[in-house]
Amino acid sequence: MAETRFTVNGDEQIVDMDPTTPLLWVLREQLKLTGTKFGCGIAQCGACTIHLDGTPVRSCSTPLAAADGAELTTIEGVASGDGTHHAVQAAWIEHQVPQCGYCQSGQIMSAVALLRDNPSPTDADIDAAMSGNICRCGAYGRIRAAIKTAARA
């Protein structure tokens, strides 16, 4: 075991766990941040997407060691400090995007990263940024519309 230090949603964390443990399980079981979801374990579905130093990563396939000294953001940290929804979250509600909702944390994390880097994405940009996130309820059309709404916000 070794201590790993990082921040999650601005809070400092020191974790003493096997550094090969995927971040997903550290977040969910150790830090009780269960908004980040397990879907496939092999970086195929995107349900576990978080930001590591601002970059969207699949936490199921990112070892704890990779977080050493990093700033992590999860779905729980997307809204502003006073609880105001991020523009992406507001657009998700406006377009009534989620159905079962299980994939949506990952979808939102991918969309937030997309819009931060590219404030007015084209359809092709959306395809490229969002095709790593599977939605079995098939909310793709609403996700696309919500991203465009959030881009205008």
Binding site: T36, C45, P98, G101
Partner: protein, 733 residues
């Protein structure tokens, strides 16, 4: 069975004889002390089982269904609140606990009384003993697109209307005015002439003393204030900030984690297990051989999963070890050959043989579909805590009440000692109607004093499923001089549910629809729209072939055969018009159409496909759907969109194959899903025809595969008779 009356539906608690407990929409609180204990806080009056009225005038609808993305909490509450003239701003809902009193009584009533068929997979469960019909009508199932059409129409609306009438009656007594002079709005009673207004809660105590009305008056559509509106769903905000609690998110003090592994060849049992290495791995607490599966319990899930992959398990031989995908289809075709002309009869109208023999010509074709897994986003999981003679189970379940009964049976507990806590389902699609996984969690947890959360890997979720069956269907049609069918002879395999899935909407005078069956160890499970998913593809592809044989356009050919049904015609026309059917499309593109009536909702879809790339790409889907009346239009549209993507994923890519008796696919890399870049634009038009209300969750799925296959034919001249359709060109080389 006791005589069923309208009065019984509303007022009776139990049908006599001790055989069946078919429930009621409304009960007086004092007759159901157990319910009162469970659902009411001090000062609340339990007006009926589906609605609570609190002293602060807030109204809570109690919804006996599971939320798996279909917006059921909202649509059910909306239906109740409208009939009750409730203030939507102060209406909330609770999910009913798994208790007999909340069993899906309207569903049971329809089943028992036979005025509408309950989806057959429910019946299967009954026959299979999952539900003890002998003891109680233990239905609390979410599936078969039943929520709105049974619980909503037969339960929530009547409950709301009856509650309102009782409140009005109480107000009339209190104010000493005729009830007909009273108006209700936004959870208030008004007497215009005297200018009096009081909240509903003022009359709750008095209302609770009345027997419920036997036949409360329901609103007509022109009186709706909430039904028919796209009210935002209750559950959506929590699904955008990570706070929505799914089964996998349950957290309990002292909880440990379990990984599981089932036999590669379904049905096998353990013969030996070598855990020498696994049991010393970090965090591992215990390795369990449960016969039908093995488990590792550890401090963390990842530790458990790592360890279980190091177990060396020997599984028993079941005789299925040599079965391959080729064998599966060979068996199906052999069963069809054995059945010959004498498959089990499904539909027999006129004289097919005579009509075929005397037809101008005969046309035949054979279709097939592969096994499919459900692949819900949330891998199966359940958390169990077994201690002090009690069992608690947390999970996302499509039939929590049946699971409670199963657990009671498996642990030799009283039902009252088993508590099932149902939470959000990360997708269900039929998979979460099976009690296998919660029972496994209980089997593991009973070895410990602390709670255990069992999580399936995606690989287990894919390989230990209950599958949409592989099936073959063969058609033989007699055609007249114009190419119109005079006979329809269809022999297919693997009939499950619903029974009418193989029936055709078209008017053909001579029909013989019959089937053969092969028992596989690759076990059957209801998969979104159940048999409609394959029969939609079979029937709507073959009718398209007949159109082509007649030299006619597929849309016009269907129209000719649907003249008896204005409802079908209206839906078909709407989809065709939305798609601007008949227009010229660019080279490499094609339009295809299909129509399927399932779960009481008629759906037509037109697909525009582009075949210029390596795989066919669906550009746009135009859909017209007639559910009779859409309670929450945007919610209904979302369900149809979802059904289309789910069905399109299966049609393009879905292919569970069997080698050496085992499922080959394991995760999304080899069981691919449709993604954003492949998702078509979808346009949905709702037709509120006023027909009996149909379902929303499933009817979007069946037409998409044949509409796509027909579009591929239009674009390429290649007829696709098997799935997955993404591979259609492989068959050409």
């Amino acid at each position: 069975m006791g005589k069923w009356t309208r009065r019984g539906f509303i007022a009776a608690g139990v049908v006599s004889g001790g055989v069946l407990m078919v429930g009621v929409g409304i009960r007086e609180g004092h007759r159901a002390p157990k319910l009162a204990d469970m659902m009411t806080e001090d000062g609340e009056t339990l007006v009926n089982v589906w609605v609570k009225l609190a002293p602060d005038n807030t109204i809570t609808a109690i919804v006996p269904h599971s939320e798996m993305g279909q917006g059921v909490f909202t649509s059910m509450t909306q239906m109740l609140a409208d009939e009750m003239d409730a203030d939507w701003q102060t209406v909330t809902f609770e999910q009913a606990p798994a208790h007999e009193a909340y069993a899906n009584y309207p569903l049971g009533r329809e089943f028992l009384m036979g005025d509408t068929k309950v989806p057959g997979f429910v019946q299967d469960s009954l026959n299979g003993g999952f539900l003890r019909i002998a003891q109680s009508m233990g239905l609390q199932i979410t599936g078969g697109s039943t929520a709105v059409r049974f619980t909503g129409m037969g339960g929530m609306r009547i409950a709301g209307a009856a509650a309102r009438e009782m409140i009005v009656k109480a107000a009339a007594k209190s104010w000493d005015v005729p009830a007909r002079e009273l108006r209700t709005e936004n959870s208030y009673v008004h007497h215009i002439a005297s200018g009096r207004s009081e909240p509903y809660a003022s009359f709750a105590e008095q209302a609770g003393k009345y027997s419920p009305p036997t036949q409360p008056t329901l609103k007509t559509p022109d009186q709706y204030t909430l039904i028919g509106k796209s009210l935002p769903r209750f559950d959506i905000p929590a699904k955008t900030d990570g706070t929505a609690e799914f089964g996998i998110d349950v957290d309990l003090p002292g909880m440990k984690y379990a990984a599981v592994m089932g036999p590669p060849v379904l049905g096998a049992e353990t013969v030996a297990m070598d855990a020498t290495y696994a049991q010393d791995m970090p965090g591992v607490i215990k390795v369990l051989d449960k016969g039908s599966f093995v488990a590792v319990v550890a401090d963390g899930y990842w530790q458990a999963e790592n360890a279980i992959r190091q177990l060396d398990v020997t599984w028993s031989e079941t005789g299925a070890e040599s079965l391959s995908q080729t064998d599966v289809f060979a068996q199906l075709r052999a069963a069809m050959a054995d059945a010959g002309d004498k498959g089990k009869e499904d539909v027999a109208v006129g004289n097919v043989h005579k009509a075929t023999d005397s037809a101008a010509r005969v046309y035949e074709a054979e279709y097939s579909v592969p096994f499919l897994a459900h692949a819900a986003m949330e891998p199966l999981n359940a958390t169990a805590w077994v201690r002090d003679g009690k069992v608690d189970l947390w999970s996302g379940l499509q039939n929590p009440l049946a699971v409670r009964d199963e657990i009671a049976g498996a642990t030799d507990s009283k039902k009252s000692d088993v508590t099932v806590h149902n939470v959000f389902l990360g997708g269900g699609f039929g998979r979460r109607s099976n009690p296998d996984y919660p029972l496994m969690a209980v089997e593991i947890a009973k070895e410990f004093d602390h709670p255990v959360k069992m999580i399936w890997s995606r690989e287990q979720d894919t390989q230990q499923d209950w599958y949409r069956p592989a099936s073959v269907s063969r058609f033989r049609a007699g055609l007249d001089e114009e190419g119109m069918p005079v006979s329809w002879d269809n022999l297919f395999t693997q009939k499950h549910d619903p029974p009418e899935a193989s029936h055709i909407p078209y008017k053909i005078d001579n029909q013989l629809i019959h089937y053969a069956h092969v028992d596989h160890h690759v076990r059957f499970g209801p998969w979104r729209s159940v048999d409609h998913t394959q029969h939609g593809f079979f029937i709507e592809s073959f009718i398209d072939e007949l159109a082509d044989q007649a030299g006619m356009d597929g849309y016009q050919y269907r129209r000719k055969l649907l003249q008896h049904s204005p409802r079908y015609l209206a839906v078909l026309d709407a989809a065709a018009q939305a798609a601007n059917w008949g227009r010229d499309v660019p080279e490499g593109r094609g339009l295809g159409i299909a129509l399927v009536d399932s779960f009481g909702t008629v759906v037509a879809q037109v697909v525009e496909v582009d075949v210029t790339g390596p795989e066919p790409k669906v550009v746009h889907v135009w859909c017209a759907a007639d559910p009779g009346y859409a309670m929450n239009p945007d919610g209904f549209v979302a369900q149809i969109e979802s059904g289309i993507i789910y069905g399109l994923t299966a049609a393009l890519y879905g292919d569970i194959t069997i080698e050496d008796g085992a499922v080959v696919q394991s995760n999304f890399h080899d069981y691919p899903m449709l993604r954003m870049s492949e998702a078509p634009e979808i346009s949905v038009e709702i037709i509120n025809s006023g027909a009996k209300v149909g379902g929303g969750g499933e009817p979007g799925t069946p037409p998409i595969a044949p509409a796509l296959a027909n579009a591929v034919f239009a674009a390429t001249g290649v007829r696709v008779r098997s799935q997955p359709i993404a591979n259609f060109q492989e068959g050409l080389s």
